[in-house]
């Protein structure tokens, strides 16, 4: 009799203890959750303030840049430079750059835009020279003996990084007679070359180096880079 009472009492005390522990754990959990939530909310708010400021700033820069480029294009097309047509132009450029300012400058990079433009312009004459050279080669192939023609598909992994440099390289390859870019998959170029010489010219990678130099990619140290930097050192001295 006494033993059963004792056992029951022990059981009950254990139950009470268990319940108390459960309650306290719940309370602690709630407290912890509330603190972390409030912290997260606070952090998010701070982040939103900073990010919002940065976002509006980049958006304004993008909008202005797009507007200037498009307005130049409009003036080139229009040919009527009276007040009426120019005001229509401003209106249209404003509309289009509002709608498409995230398209023209989709991935703004840290690199200086002016340097890229300057280097790109100096790249174009070299590309024309290459086009003339391969034109002469293809003429020789077409008029010369048949056994020089050896079409094949070559593939190479590029060291370039961004979409825009991929596209520049692919279009440069296609513009050069004798080679055509078929596809780009995960940084691997598939190129059709009409003869052994064109394939070898491509695989030396000079074109790729020059494009890496334009877009300042792939840790590419080029002679021109040091030449570009030289004036800065002179000024520092």
């Amino acid at each position: 009799m006494e033993v059963t009472i004792l056992v029951q009492a022990t059981d009950r005390s254990f139950e009470i203890l268990e319940k108390a522990r459960e309650r306290s754990r719940q309370v602690l959990d709630t407290a912890a959750r509330l603190t972390s939530e409030s912290q997260a909310v606070h952090r998010k708010r701070v982040e939103a303030i900073f990010k919002g400021a940065r976002q509006t700033k980049t958006e304004i820069t993008r909008f202005t840049a797009t507007f200037i480029i498009l307005f130049g294009f409009w003036l080139l097309l229009s040919g009527h430079y009276d007040l009426f047509h120019i005001s229509i132009g401003v209106l249209c450029c404003g509309l289009v750059s509002h709608a498409t300012h995230d398209l023209l400058f989709a991935n703004p990079r840290a690199g200086d835009m002016r340097v890229i433009v300057k280097r790109f312009i100096t790249y174009i004459p070299w590309l024309f020279y290459q086009i003339v050279l391969s034109n002469m080669h293809v003429v020789r192939l077409a008029l010369g003996p048949k056994n020089l023609i050896d079409p094949k598909i070559i593939e190479f992994k590029t060291k370039l990084e961004s979409d825009i440099s991929f596209v520049t390289l692919a279009n440069s390859i296609t513009l050069t007679p004798g080679t055509i870019t078929l596809d780009i998959r995960d940084g691997v170029f598939y190129v059709h070359a009409v003869s052994k010489k064109t394939a070898e010219d491509l695989l030396t990678g000079e074109m790729e180096d020059r494009i890496a130099h334009i877009f300042m990619e792939a840790d590419h140290v080029y002679v021109q880079d040091t030449l570009d930097i030289a004036p800065v050192f002179v000024e520092l001295k």
Partner: protein, 164 residues
């Protein structure tokens, strides 16, 4: 229904096509607006410009998927633009009628614009062309969207709700 879902998310996987169309679309749109705005001086006009404008949006749908394109310009916006353009066209015509001329007799617009008959005709043509351009653009896009989704894109909200 799965076809629509595919179309909503599907983007072109070709980096060349995507980048080149991204760079070309703003210039296409400016060219389209140039064709509309200079229709009274040179070849072109509302219809041609509207078609080019519609084509630029269609290019966006093909390369970046329906989702992204509709975020730029919702379906409701298409319907509003389609009807606004028609109202501008008919409104200018009826305005000439009210002012005592024939339908679309722009010379009568001089009574409210006071810029001379020749200039009034020029402005009237420009207004009509803007209306035609808006309607044609919205109609081109609507036809394309209807063909491409089998007429189911008006249920976009339900689909997006189900996915979320």
């Amino acid at each position: 229904m799965s076809g629509v879902n595919d179309m909503m998310t599907k983007q072109s996987d070709d980096v060349i096509v995507k980048t080149v169309s991204r760079l070309l679309i703003p210039f296409m749109q400016i060219y389209a607006l140039y064709v509309i705005a200079h229709g009274h001086y040179s070849p072109g006009g509302g219809f041609q410009g509207g078609v080019i404008l519609g084509a630029s949006i269609i290019l966006l749908v093909i390369t970046y998927g329906l989702d992204n394109a509709l975020r730029k310009m919702s379906e409701k916006m298409h319907i509003i633009m389609c009807s606004t353009g028609a109202i501008i066209y008919a409104g200018i015509g009826v305005l000439c009628l009210i002012l005592g001329g024939n339908f679309l007799d722009y010379a009568e617009l001089d009574q409210i614009l006071h810029v001379g008959i020749a200039q009034a005709r020029s402005l009237g043509i420009l207004g009509v062309e803007v209306g035609v351009g808006m309607t044609v653009m919205a109609a081109m896009i609507s036809i394309f969207l209807d063909i491409v989704t089998g007429g189911l894109h008006s249920k976009e909200k339900n689909i997006q709700g189900k996915r979320a």
